[in-house]
Symmetry: C2
Subunit: 230 residues, 2 copies
């Protein structure tokens, strides 16, 4: 296996304060792997043997409730850690991670976590920051669900996805991974029917343009207005 290039990690928050030799150490412990779209990286309840760093693509973290297929997806963009159960002292993953697109990720055995935290300056701090942001995101999501109407929720979910991993095409933003209306519906706590209707209406207005498993926001500004401008 070819050696991984140090520049992969150098710019990322958890490693930004580390020296090249330190990054080399870390990389030499890492196992790179590619996952096809739709592949499950790890399952809810699995023993948490490794933790991951997403190099490219998007991960969808879902929580399936026991009684059915209800899920609460959280999307994790490239450059972030995920599956960090060891950080929380858990020996089992609390959720399932699915590749939302083709992804490539590095992983390390869970028992390395403690070493990383104690040995590498800034690793813990930066990880805390990421977790803090993720909690903020969850809070915002709760606020949306609790206070906003369905239309606003869907609008803000689309904007969120677009901002997080969209590729700009002029003024338009194309969401960078395949996503079904059913998934949007799950994220926003509604049904795929309603999402479909909304997208149709918006498409008629020229705010978005959608195809099968794919959504492009052509006029982000107007969508933002619809989202109830928080």
């Amino acid at each position: 296996m070819a050696k991984l290039d140090e520049s992969l990690l150098a710019g990322l928050p958890p490693f930004s304060r580390l020296s090249r030799p330190q990054i080399r150490e870390i990389l030499d412990l890492a196992m790179p792997r590619r996952f096809e779209e739709g592949t499950t990286v790890f399952h809810d309840g699995d023993p948490a043997e490794r933790f991951f760093l997403l190099l490219d693509g998007i991960i969808r973290v879902v929580r399936t409730t026991p009684d059915g297929a209800q899920v609460i997806p959280l999307h994790i963009p490239a450059g972030q850690l995920f599956g960090i159960a060891p950080a929380f002292g858990r020996d089992t993953y609390p959720a399932t991670a699915v590749a939302a697109a083709e992804i490539v990720a590095l992983s390390w055995p869970s028992h390395c976590w403690g070493g990383f935290v104690s040995r590498y300056d800034g690793f813990a701090t930066e990880t805390w920051k990421t977790i803090g942001e993720r909690m903020g995101e969850l809070h915002a999501r709760i606020a949306d669900l609790a206070t906003k109407a369905v239309e606003q929720r869907v609008a803000s979910a689309l904007l969120h996805l677009a901002n997080q991993s969209g590729t700009r095409v002029g003024n338009a933003i194309e969401i960078g991974f395949p996503i079904t209306r059913a998934e949007v519906a799950e994220m926003t706590g509604t049904t795929l029917h309603t999402v479909s209707r909304l997208l149709s209406a918006w498409e008629k207005d020229g705010i978005v343009s959608s195809a099968r498993k794919q959504i492009t926001v052509t006029e982000p500004h107007r969508l933002f207005l619809l989202s109830g401008a928080s």
Copy 2:
């Protein structure tokens, strides 16, 4: 000021692995303070000068959205840390903390955080665990909001509150701090009208009994059934 007793901290997770002298050190840095019910401990956006440990009572952490009074309360029970913005590298609080009942809390200057983490074994680990649990709670809340009907949401919110800080009276559980229907409504993303109606109906069925700013769950089992048994 009388010296604080070491037993206050000895049993709590973040300090459980520490020796008595270490606990003594920590206590000598702490500033104890009592807050009346309804007092704001810190405000969203304030400079995060201190972090807190709740010794007794209940803290309500709220996030007010810019456009109005919408909030997403998270209740923190006695024995937990809160306002730990420094852990996330923030220099400002991301939410407002209000005393839901009369409380007593210890606090330390934010700059102590780093020292606690590096000097005291287990402090960081245990704090991570707490944060992990809190994230799990947020996830569960999102799942509820996204998938359950209003009646189920209210039922599970009441159960949650009862479990978290209820005092048992026979089979009944009385929620241990004053709470208005409006607050329950905010937690569950509905209106006080609906909450009021539900409580009336449940009271007629003998499942709960409520007074002004006070709710007692007399038949937790039946309420659990209503909550959609997750």
